[in-house]
Structures are given as C-alpha cells and as structure tokens.
Symmetry: C2
Subunit: 685 residues, 2 copies
Amino acid sequence: MRVLAVAVLAVLTAPAMAAEGMWTLDNLPKQAMQAEFGFSPDQAWVDKVMKSSVRLAGGCSGSFISPEGLVMTNHHCVVDCVAQLSSEGSDFVKNGFIAREHGDELKCPDMELNRLEQIADVTDQVRAATDGLNGDAYSKAKKAVQSRLEADCVGDDSQATRCDIVELYQGGKQHLYRYTRFQDVRLVFAPEVAAAFFGGDPDNFNFPRFNLDMGILRAYVDGKPAKLDNWFGFKQAGAAEGELVMITGHPGSTQRLLTVAQLKALRDGGLTDRLLYIAELRGLLTQYGALGEEQARQAQPDLFGIENGFKALRGRLDTLNDDAFFVRKQAEEDALRAFVAADPGLAENVGDPWAAIASAEATFDEFADAYLLIEGGRGFATEYFGIARGLYRAGAERELPNEKRLREFTEAGLPRLEQTLLSDAPLYPDYEKVKLAWSLTKLRETLGTDHPLVKRILGKESPQQLAARVIDGTRLGDVDARKALWLGGAKAVAASDDPMIALVRDIDAAARELRLRYETEVEAVEQKNAERIAQARFAKDGTGVYPDATFTLRLSYGAVQGWNEKGTDIPAMTHIAGMFERATGADPYKLPDSWLQHQADLDGSLPMNFVSTNDIIGGNSGSPVINAKAEVVGLVFDGNIHSLGGAYWYDGRLNRAVAVHPATIIQALRKIYGAGALADEMTGQ
Amino acid sequence: MRVLAVAVLAVLTAPAMAAEGMWTLDNLPKQAMQAEFGFSPDQAWVDKVMKSSVRLAGGCSGSFISPEGLVMTNHHCVVDCVAQLSSEGSDFVKNGFIAREHGDELKCPDMELNRLEQIADVTDQVRAATDGLNGDAYSKAKKAVQSRLEADCVGDDSQATRCDIVELYQGGKQHLYRYTRFQDVRLVFAPEVAAAFFGGDPDNFNFPRFNLDMGILRAYVDGKPAKLDNWFGFKQAGAAEGELVMITGHPGSTQRLLTVAQLKALRDGGLTDRLLYIAELRGLLTQYGALGEEQARQAQPDLFGIENGFKALRGRLDTLNDDAFFVRKQAEEDALRAFVAADPGLAENVGDPWAAIASAEATFDEFADAYLLIEGGRGFATEYFGIARGLYRAGAERELPNEKRLREFTEAGLPRLEQTLLSDAPLYPDYEKVKLAWSLTKLRETLGTDHPLVKRILGKESPQQLAARVIDGTRLGDVDARKALWLGGAKAVAASDDPMIALVRDIDAAARELRLRYETEVEAVEQKNAERIAQARFAKDGTGVYPDATFTLRLSYGAVQGWNEKGTDIPAMTHIAGMFERATGADPYKLPDSWLQHQADLDGSLPMNFVSTNDIIGGNSGSPVINAKAEVVGLVFDGNIHSLGGAYWYDGRLNRAVAVHPATIIQALRKIYGAGALADEMTGQ
C-alpha cells in the first residue's frame, strides 16, 4: 500500500507516466516515444501494424504472422474452440491439437476475426442528432444515428465487412471503425492445456511464469487460406532487456475516467456482488468437475473464465479499497472541477455533470439487482437461455426498421449474431441444468421469494424443478431447430412451445422494461454527462491523453523490464529449465508427456516468459509484442498481479505485461510437437 | 440509504435510542425502562431471570422451562446434535425426533449448557498485573492473570463449574463469570427441518415468516433430569402489540465500539475475504449435496451455517459500505477525541490510542492471510484438522503451568475441550476430503505457490493428493484412538505416525509463530489501547452505556411492533394459515406430511411468528422473549434483514428481532406431534 501511496504523488504531477496509456492508432504519443526511446512510428509503419493486428470478436487479440492467413494468439483464447471440437474420448484440450496440413485444420464453431481497415470521426453527426435531448429521447436518437452510421458503413457487404461505433473518452468522441470480418477460422495448433496453462490458477497473474500459452489459427476466405498483404515478421531472438517493445491489441475495458461516485458505486456494490456470485459458482463447478473426467472436461472452459475473472476482479476491488486511490481520484476530480469553475463560459456549458452522474448511480442502485438478474441474465446462467433470448428477440427486432432495433440486433451485427446463435458447439444438458438451477436460487435469494418476478418465474416450482423441466424439454440443443426459429422469425418464436423459448417470452416484457429504465435513467444520463466531463477535460488537457479501453485496437509502448517486489528484484525473464524445476507431477504443475519425453532435446537456457512495462488489460490476451521493426518478439498472455488495478490507474514501477518468448515458441514447435512446417511458415523459411 | 442517513442525525443527539442496547444483568437501564414502559426490574426478578436463562456453549441461547431441566431453544441450535444422532436410513433432521418418555431422550455428543451464577468485577486485579507492560510482556501477563483467576474460581469442581473472564467495553472492564456446567444434555424434541426452517435460506433474515424453529433439550445431572429452582413460566397467549418484551440471551459479538480504522480494515479486507471464502465453499458443498440424499444429509449442517453466515456477513458489509455510516462513526470518534484533548490530565493518561490501533491494523494487514489460513485454520477446512491440532497442542500445553498455557488449554476449559475432542459425532471421510482439498487450494492460491509454508505443506503433492493421503490414513475418526492420544499427552502425540497429527506437527512451530506475532503486535496493542479509549469513554459518558456483545448473558428490552419497509407497513405477526398459503410443495417451501395431515386440526388464526424492537444479534438464537412477569411469550430465532448491520449500530425504526409465538409452539406439540405430555410439562399442567 505504501508503494502505491508514493506513486499517487508522482502521478499527480505528471499525468501520463512513461509507458502509461493504451493509445488509439490515429493518436499515438509520437513525441513521448521519440523522447524516451528514440523511435517515432511513421504512417507506413502504423498502417502495416494496424493491418497485421487482429481482433478475436469473442474477447481476445491476435496477429497475422504469415501471408497465408496464419494467426497467432493465446491458448486461452482458442480453448473454447478446442473444447467445442473435442468430445468424450477425444479431448484436444487435454491432449493438444496439431493440423499437419491445411486439410486437417478444423473450423471453430463460433470464432470471428476482425481486421481494422479504417477509423472515421463521426462525433459531429452523433452530436447533431442528439443535441438538446435528454433521457429516453436522447437514448433513442443516439442509438438510431449510431445504427444508421454503422449500416451505411457496412453497405451491402455485411458478410465481409463489420462496422462498429466506438465511444471514446467515455463518450467525448464518437468514432466509426470499419473491419474486415473473417468467420471461417480454423484451428491449426494448440498445445496440451498442461503446457499452455502450466501452474494453472495459482500461477495465473503471477510471475515467474512458465507457460506456452499459444494457439495458432488460420483465417480462410472462400474455403481457402486468406491471402494477406500485411503480416508480422517473427524474431526468434526476441527483445533485449530495456529494449523498446510495443503491444498492439484490444484492451477490453478500463475505468480510468470514471467519476468518484461511479468508482465508489463499483466498490460498494457492483464489484462485490459480481465477485460473490462467481465465487459461489466457482465452488459449484469445481465440485461438478470432481464427478469425473467427462464432467471436468465439460466444466473446464467456464471454470477457466471464472477463475481468471475472479482474480482480476479481486485485484480491482483491492485497488478500490485503497484509501490512497480515492485520495488521488478525488484530487483529480477536484482539479478538473476547479478548472471548469474558473472559466464562466465553460462552466455554463459543462454544468455539474458529476452531481448528475452520482444521482444516476443512486437511481441504478434501486433496481440494479433486478436488472442484472433478469435482463443481464445472471438469474439464468445457462447457454440455452442466451440462445433462446437471442432467437426470441431477433424475431421481434428484425421486424423493426434498423434504427429502432435494440443495438445488438441491427443489420451490421446480424452476421456475428447468426454465427453465435447457430453455432454447432456442443451443449451438455446435465451441466447446464446445474448452472441454471443454481442461478435461479440466486435470483430468488437476491430479489426475495415475494418479488413479483420471482413468483412469476418460479410459480410453484423449485429452481431445480424448473431447470430440469425447461432443459429436458427444450429442442434448442439441435442447431436445425434453432435455424428454423431464426429463419421463421417473430411468427415462429411466438408459436413455439419450446419451454426455454416460453420462459424467455414470459419475462420479456419485464426484462425490456428494466432495460429501458436502465438506458433512460442511468446510461443516457451518464453518457450525456460524461460527454460534458470530456469537454472539460479536452479544454484542460487537450487530446494528448488516451481514452479508456473499448475493445478496439490500441498500441502501448514500454520496455522489457523486471520490477522490485517488496525489496526483492524480480528478473524480467524465465527460462525453459525453470519449468522442469517447478514441475511436481501433480496438476496444475504436471507437465505433459510430450515435454517430459523431449526434455533432453530442449535448450533449457532459452528464455521462456518475460515481463515488460507495457500498459495492458484483459482483451490484450494474444496480442503480439513487437519491436521498432514491427517484428514479433513476444506473445502477451497475462499481466502481473499489480496490473489488475490497471482498470483504474497505472503504476509503471509495478505494473507488468507477461508474454511468451518467441524462442520457446519455435523451440517447442520444432522439438516437442514436430511441427517444423508450421515453425517454418511463422519464421518465413 | 436515505433512511439510515436520517437515523444518523437522530442517533448523534441521543446516544441510546429506545430499545437500543444489550445490557449486562448487573447494569440494567432501569430508569429508561421505567420511563418508557413503567417497569423497573427488582433484584429478585433479575436473579430469577438470570438463573432461568441458559447458554449453549456451542453458540446459542436457551431457557429453562420446567423444574425438571427442560430447555427450550431453536431447532437450528440443536440441528448439529440431531444430525449427529442420525445415520444413513435414520434421518432425524428430515423426519424430526420425539422422545415419548425420559428413557427415549438421546444424549447429544458434544452439547454443553452453562447457567450463570455470579458476576465479579476483577478489573483491578487484571490491571495490576499488566500495569506498565507492552507487547509480548503485556500479552503474557494478562493471559496469565486471567487463567489464574479462572482456575481459582473453578476450584476443584471443573466438571460442574465453569468460569470465564469476560472483557467488556473492548477491555475497559474485566469481569469473571461463574457458571454451572451441564454436559449431559439430551434431545427431547425436534420438528422436521422443513417445519423448523420452512422457507429455508431464501426466507432467512426475512419477514413475514412461518417457522417452527424450536428444539427441546433436557439437562441431566448424575444420569437424572436436573432439578431446578428457577425456570420460566409459559404464557400461551403471548404478548400484545406494543407490549414491553425482554430478551435474555447471549449475543455473540458486536463491533459498535471499534475505531474507524478497525471498521475500515473490516470493510477493506477481513469481511470481504471471509465472504468470498464462504461463498465458494457454499457452491462446493451445494454441489456435493447434489450427489445424493446421503451426501445432502452430510453437508446440511455445514451448509446451514454457511448460508446463514453468508447473509449475516453480507448485511454487515452493506452497512460498512454505507458512507453515512462512516460519517457517523467518524463524528463519534472526533467528539471523543475532542473531549480528551480538552482535558490535559485525561489527554496525558489516554494518549493517542486511535493512532496506535490504526498502526496495529496496518501491521496485521502484512500477515493476516497467513495467520488466518495457517493458525486460523482456513487452509485446513476439515473436522479432522481441528481434532488433530487440539490433541497435539493439548499434549504440549498440559505440561506447562496453567498460567503459561495457550488460553484454550487452561484447566478451567479442559472439560469442554475434552468433550469436543472426544465427541462420538460421526465424521464422513469423503466429505471431509472434499473440504480439505478445496481449502488447501485456497491456501496455495492466497499465499502463492512459492510461499515457504505452502511448499512445506504441499511438497510435490496436489491438494487433492494430500487430502486423500491424510484422511485415508488417519485413525482420528475412531474415538478410542483420540482418547489414547488425549490420555497419552505430549509423548503420545510426539510418537504418533497418524498422518493428520503429522501434518499438524509439521506446521505447528510456524503456526505458533504467527499466533505470537498476532497476539503481540496486534491483539495486545489493540487491547491495551482499547482500554485507554474505554477510559476516555467512561470519563465522557459514565457507565450508563452498554458494552459490545461478548457471548455472555444480556437483556434487551423493546416492544412487539412491525415496521415500515420503503412505504409498506409490515405487520408484527404472521399466522398459521399463512404458512399453508406460502407452501408450494417444493423445497424449501414444502411442508412436512405431519403438517399437511393435521391442517384441519389446527387453528389457522393463531399467531405463528412475530417481530419486536429488541436489539439482538447472532448468539441470541434460542433466547426466550419474556414479559414483565418473567413468562415466556416467544422464542427468538432470527433478526430481520435490517438487524444485520446491528453488529455496528442500531436503528430502532427498522431493526427487528423475529420470534416463534408460544401459541403455535403448544398447538404444534399437541395437534401435530402428539406431544401432549411435553406441552403439559412446559405449560405447568
């Protein structure tokens, strides 16, 4: 805590520390990079890097690493696909997967890749459409103009083009991102989970680390490997300590620009509620997995996500529970308010957005439980529910003009939605029943037995009875049944007697009401007032600051560098030999047989994992670490424990990104997995 | 939130609201009771009430209700005994238990009752022994004098007499409580859990409520029912709305006198850690219970405690997350500090205990995780570990002079310790393995794989392997094996090759070191400085205030009264008919067959549960509600949701105790359970 407290003072006097920031590619801190590292990227460099980077629509990052569409990312970014391609008796998660030739590459059921092609500033158009509006009118007008801009951008090529409005600076800027969309994505290589995630949850977010957290995909177009003009070269030697390294990727979400009232609401309710929910679910799924190998296999993808999320959220809560943190945030907010107050014209324009946001948070507090459980789906923790709701609402929404639809059903998003809803990834009814029954007990516990919606949902059934009835009775496990409802639209879902569809239908009016209340009384108020705060911030600091993360392409720069942990120096690199020393033979420190058999073939002195000062966060998983020549010198897969508070601030002395070293990647492919052809393709040989 | 904020102002101007306070019986607020209700208890009344009240050493309260040793308490206070007396195929928890005659009454394996006989003020003796000492010296001297005073009080009759030092006002007063001890306690009656805990966890801490949460025990002496001079009469008609009612019982613990630094430490760490721990354990045990009826039976007692604890702690955290709460606490603390500062003599004596306590909290933060996991036992969540550590340490400690022993091994406590360690309550190895393996993963996760103690404990084993090895190998499930180690003492445990004993032995030095650090650097500092704060508080307010709860006998007074919940009036009473209306046929709203069969025999208009304004907290479960004539007019079993913040403050407008009405108790015994003889004994017929 003391270390962070000292950092407060340093940061207060220098808004952006060295290496701080997740910068959009159209606003890179070239001057600072030049001053610190003697490197200032030119436009050709930026263009190449932009088109060589790739987003995994499910929540990760990656990089193109060959002209034949090869994509490098993390194992934990492809593990859902690996699990979906597995079955009882053929467990690729456990045993790994290697396609020896193109024909062996297997299509991932619901993977989508996005390559950024263009960024356009549409702030003025959005502002013009919402000028002078509030509440419901503001919310509707804004969504309408956003949907229209996206549809215009996509044109008639929605299969290959994706356009997303991105709200930067908490709404201060509206940008339109145009992507090339790849939906035929095939699995090329995944090591055994025991190598990819060696050390498991205990080592997650920790360092020293010894993970081969890599997965290789290939983008296909028209049934053939995609032909690419831009891709990253591969530098096996990696980067030296102290060398400039950049990370291009898609950090998901940060909350560094939130007001103190919003941060306190997170601390006092939102974050704690979510942590307690996933803690209990984790216990439940852990014990479900203990039933047997097959049950463990079924639960693993969820459990991985939950354990990862638990640590990440816990790290954030620890930051919010640090009094020094709020001292800094309050000081920043006070300084901005004083700046506004000192300029009568600005004060007139900006008003008191902080009070309006605090009031919206108090309003949300009144119905947040119901909103999160019913509309947010926490009360219905099963894949079937998400599918049923998607199909049901897609029916109604597609009848409406594009601009009046719920945002997730606009034309621009339909290809991704269809891919997700009609995915042939397997579902396990017994497993889904356990989750649904449990989450229904949380619904009842949180809202209370006497809540009208709880009474309506459960009637005289227990959570277990309801879960069993709707999951035993549903036909949504069958992709053809889903397809019929998708194609049949509103009429088909209205007529459906599928019990899962019926459950969704029964609560849909109430769920939409909660959503409308949220969008009108909370979201619209917060967005409108965040725009005002952004206006004040631009007036005070200009646009030489970076926006909060939005799961869009960003570049962070830093150096390969260890840190000092309470008096102990943590070296920047680990080596292959250390992994063998750490192995115990017992999960999660049990090495796969392939590694044990080939231990003698490996050069134990090669670097395995390393840390750098780059500012990253969840969503950056799978990002390439590149050098000034735009060569891959690492593969990001984690942050250290101090990086977790990065949602709210950045401390350059402790915050570290964790990456796989390219030497180990190539060594493992060649010596352990006999995947020389793949290594050749990656290294351009 | 708004309601509590208003309460702040009211409370600031009137330190003790009507009905606030858990008063020791030697310092009752007679004047206030007289003024508010026209009743002032005389000494004879107090003596009778004191000797008619009883403590369940495991953590509950009760009352003597016949001259033949009959004890009334809650079902949830006897459910451990009921479960221990059950076995596969004979499930008294599910089916209930009735002893038709004395010979059918079954001895509870580890139940102890305590009846308070005398209170002596020993503050001066303790103060004299610790005067001028600090840290380790203070801690040792204090424990020594406390152990000596207890031993002197017990004399040579430790089987029938129990003496406990009680630190009141956070150490401001030291009292010596002498009890009669009953260890032969037999189960007389327990309804089906479905009637006792109708509505289960969802209804827990909520109201309206419909529970027959009662259990009847009988104290035996020399193999015969205890003959008593004092017991409570029973008034079937109960108390009218608005009538004065008093609750005598043993509230476990409140933290109303803690400093702001201590409360913030609870909010920012302690409470959240514990909540997350039990949330995950809850999920684990829920799913273990889903394996089958027998597994559900095994997990039920733990799950009940966990679910109850979860809600209680969550309620407390909500209070600590209320900014208005800290505004009030800070104002109280500031006022006390200002009072001290204004009096140079007092300031000289008192110093700055607040800063010292804040510093001790910061110190604790450095090693709290290790302390709680290793010495606190969170890393070893199995009954076997508690037994093994008890036996192991009992060996070493009993070799020491009484005054040098760890407090839980002093002579005065040995009878209760022996009863607990040699209890023949059944243990279920498979179930215990699940808990132990899980808690070992928490140990590793929290301290990290590289922590020396984690390495020492796990070595090359996984948590699952270690748990299986020590539980498969231990002989501590056999009471005779335990007895041999208990009688064999230090030599026997040193020579034992029992793997559970070996595990305890292996970490005992490290565990004791953590404990010593805690007692010296945290506990001693906080106690010594709490004494100073108490000194300041006495100087400012006199002793007309009540001490924090200490699981010792207290009286709270109030009135039967509903409350207003966000604009809706909640009536004070529910009625039997409402229970049948609420029943769904599905657990936890499934009525037992006995109730369904006898529905027509019952008078549905009789009051079932009711609320009153009395100030109570966990530990009060099983307390009698009595009227001015010292007649039982209710049986406390819960508080409403607003009572949970009662750990830190009391809000008389919302805080309510929840009790079973005597009319329903007698009706159920006579009409449903055919237990007329028992009803006759209770009602003195």
